[in-house]
């Protein structure tokens, strides 16, 4: 067995196997979005999600297609607001 053959068998084949497994593990995660890290900038547009209308329980059953508008509106709540606030 010549030197070239030795290198091919004992270095080339293990390297090929390692590269194959590296590709199999790293490539599927490539498409995933970057995970949020605390403190990073938030550059996405503001989004407001609302629950699916139940049809009869809420009055918004048929008006589900319009976008919510933030800002001054006539709808104001009639009582004191509760809630909580937190930072991280």
């Amino acid at each position: 067995m010549s030197t070239v053959e030795t290198i091919l068998v004992f270095a080339g084949i293990p390297l090929a196997i390692i590269l194959l497994f590296a590709a199999l593990t790293l490539l599927p995660g490539r498409a995933r979005k970057a995970r949020y890290k605390p403190g990073q900038q938030w550059e996405y547009p503001p989004v407001w999600w609302e629950p699916h209308p139940t049809g009869s329980a809420h009055d918004g059953g048929h008006g589900g297609a319009h976008a919510l508008t933030a800002g001054h509106s006539t709808a104001t709540s009639a009582g004191p607001l509760g809630g909580a606030r937190g930072t991280w």
Binding site: Y36, P45, E50, P51, D59, G71, A78, G82
Partner: protein, 153 residues
């Protein structure tokens, strides 16, 4: 069901904040993947159906005065504001606000909201936005309970 908002009184409205954005584009500029979005969707819908309250989730900048901005958003969240619960998360400012209307506050006292906020901020601090929101919604809806006379199915 993703809604972008038109912020009229606030400077977060950019040219990308057009109201015409629909579900087809949410794969590109949404911070979440589709499975994550469906988790959020399910959590919002299920907690609203279980409790009869109206949970909405706002994700974005809240401006300098986060509390008043969140309360302003709560007033315009659609439906009956007194029964609405707004969960406003601003990852850029690292602030989460929970606003409950006065009818919702009877079933969701401030202490319960604070507990849910605490668990949410724990998850957010470790980078898990969706998990924190889903768990927070679950805690809030567990606390609010299921009113008698509400038929969910």
């Amino acid at each position: 069901m993703t809604r972008t908002i038109e912020a009229t009184s606030h400077d977060t409205a950019t040219e990308t904040t057009a109201a015409a954005r629909t579900d087809q584009t949410e794969g590109q500029d949404s911070p979440f993947t589709l499975p994550e979005l469906s988790r959020l969707d399910e959590a919002l819908t299920m907690s609203s159906r279980e409790t009869g309250l109206r949970f909405t989730l706002y994700l974005g900048d809240l401006g300098a005065r986060t509390r008043s901005r969140a309360e302003e958003l709560h007033g315009t969240s659609g439906g009956d504001p007194s029964e609405a619960v707004l969960l406003a998360v601003s990852p850029g400012q690292r602030v989460v606000e929970v606003v409950t209307g006065h009818a919702a506050a009877r079933r969701l006292p401030d202490r319960a909201c604070a507990l849910a906020v605490l668990s949410m901020t724990n998850s957010f601090a470790s980078g898990d936005l969706v998990g924190g929101i889903v768990n927070g919604l679950r805690q809030l809806s567990d606390q609010a309970g299921h009113p008698r006379g509400l038929h969910t199915h």
